[in-house]
Amino acid sequence: QRLKAAVHYAVGRLCSEVALDKQVQFNKQTVAAIAEVTFRQ
């Protein structure tokens, strides 16, 4: 769970950068979904 949280955090930071660049927002669930898929990948 600690590893998942760390991956989630890193994914969140990257999504924030993309959001800033593209001028859109990600809701929390979408960030969590990308983190889940990334961890499984």
Binding site: R2, L3, A5, A6, H8, Y9, G12, K28, Q29, V31, A32, A33, A35, E36, V37, R40
Partner: protein, 114 residues
Amino acid sequence: KDGFLSEEEFNLWKRLYRLGDGDQVKGVVLPEPHFPSLQEDAMPKEPTAGIRQLSLSEWRLWQDHPLPTHQVDHSDRCHHFISVMQMIEEMRQEEDECSYERKIKPFLRMEDVR
């Protein structure tokens, strides 16, 4: 340094990203693959209440054309998948006659399959 979150990072994660009891969706999971032909006894797990289970089939009708990419192009495997979904979509529109069978049947030689 150990790869885990520092206290500051953990607090940030809790505040910005963590899904919890206060959220309508308390978690997101990608379901485990389930092959009924291989695992007859194992039933797919039902999603827990409040947990959003990602679906790879919910939007299957959208997969009959390549969706836009960013830095990574579609793979050969992906193109193959898209062409199969296109074929399925065409077949859904057919009535009675199967166009695939019509196209491929002239090439059938029984000595190839025996």
